[in-house]
């Protein structure tokens, strides 16, 4: 364990713990479902604001929810945790949830947590709304 760096890099008072959300969320009502589109990085920095917004929307209307993650560019364990938390919440509240997974390494994280066993995954928003063939692998 090396020495503590001498010069502290203290941010201005009141700034500590704040940080802009680097994830964009939008909601649209389509074909009797609530479609939530997520783009950007869903990580330790943005997970809280993601959770607050989605929980707010789920409290308003949650008969059918499509979570479109196809534009998610980065996912970490904290982001994955809040996704799993929303799935549990949907189950508990009788909300029918469908997920369009992100590409790349983010998709691999979903698979490592066996997310596909907890919620149906669809290759596109359209197929999720139609309830069509699920993606595999």
């Amino acid at each position: 364990m090396g020495p503590v760096p001498k010069r502290p890099c203290a941010p201005p008072a009141g700034w500590w713990g704040r940080g802009g959300a680097r994830v964009d969320l939008s909601r649209e009502f389509r074909d009797g479902a609530v479609v939530v589109r997520v783009s950007g990085d869903l990580d330790v920095q943005s997970a809280d604001s993601f959770r607050r917004r989605v929980d707010g929307w789920m409290a308003e209307d949650c008969a059918r929810l499509v979570l479109n993650l196809s534009k998610v560019t980065f996912l970490d364990s904290t982001g994955l945790g809040v996704l799993l938390g929303r799935i549990r919440k949907a189950e508990a509240t009788g909300c029918r949830l469908a997920v369009v997974p992100p590409p790349g390494v983010a998709r691999r994280l979903l698979d490592m947590a066996a997310l596909g066993r907890a919620v149906p995954l669809f290759r596109s928003e359209r197929s999720a709304l139609d309830g069509e063939a699920q993606t595999h692998g």
Binding site: M1, V4, R22, R51, F74, D76, S77, G81
Partner: protein
């Protein structure tokens, strides 16, 4: 006409080092992973491998923000080095430390009271790098060291040696 510069390590990324000291804030997970991705591109990693490195770095820096200082201000040091064709990354804090490292590294182990924390951070660091070492002592801090070598599948890997 452009000349390739090879001598004395000038123009080659091998041996390059980077050090960053930042406050233990969640925003700095993004800063650190972005910095490492650019730095690591000095070796012939595939884009997927760079994405994997970003996850590993983000987990380690995120842990400093979430666990090391109990919400109090603290510092995180990121050290990266390209040596012998591999990247070595160290992420260090001087926070509360981990009393049982082997237990903390177990998948699904977490001390967080937030039910959404799934305890997969160390599992992802392990999964997405070739080697993971964790040195920690209660009250002294934590040092996470990771190593990763390009698989050799990147386009251009053939001529970059």
């Amino acid at each position: 006409m452009a000349e390739s510069v090879e001598a004395d390590g000038v123009g080659t990324a091998d041996g390059n080092t980077m050090e960053l000291v930042v406050p233990s804030l969640a925003v700095n997970a993004e800063l650190c992973r972005a910095a490492v991705a650019v730095f690591a591109a000095g070796l012939p990693f595939t884009l997927a491998e760079l994405e994997q490195l970003k996850v590993a770095v983000s987990e380690a820096v995120g842990n400093c923000a979430l666990h090391a200082y109990g919400g109090e201000p603290g510092r995180v040091r990121l050290l990266a080095q390209l040596a012998a064709g591999a990247i070595v990354i160290e992420i260090q804090d001087w926070g509360r430390g981990i009393s049982d490292v082997a237990l903390a590294r177990q998948p699904a182990y977490t001390t967080s009271h937030d039910p959404d924390h799934i305890g997969l951070g160390f599992a992802f660091m392990e999964q997405f790098t070739d080697a993971l070492e964790v040195e920690s002592a209660p009250g002294e801090g934590t040092l996470v060291r990771m190593r990763k070598r390009p698989s050799g599948q990147a386009a251009g890997a053939a001529w970059s040696g």
